[in-house]
Structure formats: C-alpha cells, structure tokens
Amino acid sequence: MALTFYNSKVADAINWARKFSLFQYPFVTACCGMEFMATWAPKYDIARFGAEFPRFSPRQSDLMIVVGTITERQAPVLRRIYDQMCEPKWVIAFGVCASTGGFYQNYSVMPGADQIIPVDVYVPGCPPRPEQALDALMLIQDRIQKGQGHSQVVLMKEKGYDVPLAAIRPSQRKGGGI
C-alpha cells in the first residue's frame, strides 16, 4: 500500500514534468499551418505552456501535431514518423481535415488521422483559431497529468496496471468546453 502510494506520487511528479516540457513534431501539410504558426508567434505564444520548441525530428519529440489534410498517399509516411517517436508520445489532430477528413470525401483523402495513428485530442475548425490550439494543448496537459494519453495507457497496461482512456472530445471536458 505504501509502495503504491509512493509510486503514484512519483508518477504524478514525472507527469507534471512531462506536461510542461512538450517537444512538438509539427506534421504540417495544409492551410491549417498558417493558424498554427500564429500559435507559435509572440501574440499567442505557445511558449507560455512550455511547448515552444518544435523539433523537426520525430526522435526528439513527444507530441505530434497533425496539421492539415492527410492523403492516402501520405498515410504510410505519417505512420512511420509516429512509429519513430519515443514513448510516451501524444497526438493532436489539428483541424477538421486531420480529425475526420473534413469536406474532402473522395478517393484521395484519408478520413481522419485516427485511421492510422491513435489521436488524443481533436481540434475542430477550418482552420481552428490559435486559441483552440492552446485549448487543445491544455487538454493534452490534463491528459498527461492523469496518465491517460493513448501511449501512456498502453505502457501502463504492459506493466499490469489498468488505466481507462480519458474522454477525448473537448465537449466532454470538465466545465463544458467548445
């Protein structure tokens, strides 16, 4: 009992450190990238949340942000980059195209990044405003603190713990949401 208590406190501390030190991998494919760049810029300043540093190498990052349309032809590339990231890792689908395919319902566009990689937070909008990107970042920080990200849950299950996956949609967030 005492050991479990100790372990959970250590996990809390580690998760607290993780959530304020996110290294992003921006997988930017389309026009959503403009709004996403604004999120980095001084006016919205994603650095306030400890996530200002984009690493353009999947091996040095732990938060993948899928920004824009994913075509069927790109899908193997996205999957491969996700596989190269070190665990634990998290994924934000930024914009309706990355979340569901958006208004593209045709032969070439994949209906959502979650067809090939597990997505932790979906951000609606075409494109979303920078505030929504910050909101998504805060959602994923909540998720990290509780240990409920997809890859965290998988790691815990491998160790024999049973952790339920958190509710994913912003509307199910405590206190309402978008």
Binding site: E72, R73, A75, P76, R79, Q105, N106, Y107, S108, M110, P111, Q115, I116, I117, P118, H150, S151, V154
Partner: protein, 163 residues
Amino acid sequence: MANVILERLKAKFNAGEILETGSSHGDEWARVEASAWTAVATFLRDDPDTLLDMFVDLTCVDRVDRKLRFDVVLHLRSVAKKHRVRLYAGVDGEAPEIASLVPLWPGANWFEREAFDMFGVRFANHPDLRRILMYPEFIGYPLRKDYPKEKRQPLVRRLPGSV
C-alpha cells in the same frame, strides 16, 4: 483577325481532319480527329500566321454518354501574335490512345501523365508514362465518371483500439 487560326487550319487540313470549329467570347476552338493530333499541333506551332508556340494546358474530360467518351483538350497561345486556341480530340475505349505532344513541347510531359493518371488516356511515344499524383498501387482512374465517388484504396490502416 479573330479567325485567322481557324481559317489557316481549315485551309491546310481539308480532308476531314477538322470536324468542327467554333468561336465564343473571343476564343476559338476546333475539334480535330485524334489521328491528326500531332500534325495539327505541329502546323499551328510552326505556321508563321498562327505561331502558337506556347503550350498552356492539356487535360481531359470524361463525356460519359458520348460516342467518343473522352475529350483530350489542348490550350495553345502565341506569345508573338497574342492569340490562342483550344483544341479537342475525341478518343474512346477502355484504354483510349492518342499521340503524345512531348516531342513538340517538353512541358506537356507532366500534363499527359496527369491525364493518364486521372482518366487512363494513353499517350503514344510518351517518354515516361507513369502515374503522377496517385500511388502506383492505385487501381482504376479516379476522375472517370464511373469511378465510385468515395471509393478509397488505403495503403495502411490501424485496427480499432490498437496503437
């Protein structure tokens, strides 16, 4: 002035190669036999009266209910004369074929690859007729009218619930 291109065409090709001509909104168009495709394009490029030396666009239209199902569409412009023309050639069949214009305009290369990728039109003597936008594993031609609207051919998918 406006019809100098069409008049030159009709004077040169009077054995039935020019099927139909027209003029609307200041632009001229001509429908030609697919067998005369290269000859017509070469003539329009080199004739001193037309001098249509600039390749603007080449694409394809699926007229699904017509006898000749596919229209290959070519847009040409003259830099010196400042006029332009639009040429159509009808082709048909499951693997329709027409002559490539890459020997005349190297820039036609990728346009013809796109028409091949999307409509399955074969361009004879094209140096490198591969798909240009879709992946090599793709089966069928997505912009044909009989391709199912939302039919996807995924390369990878994850199983529900897995990472």
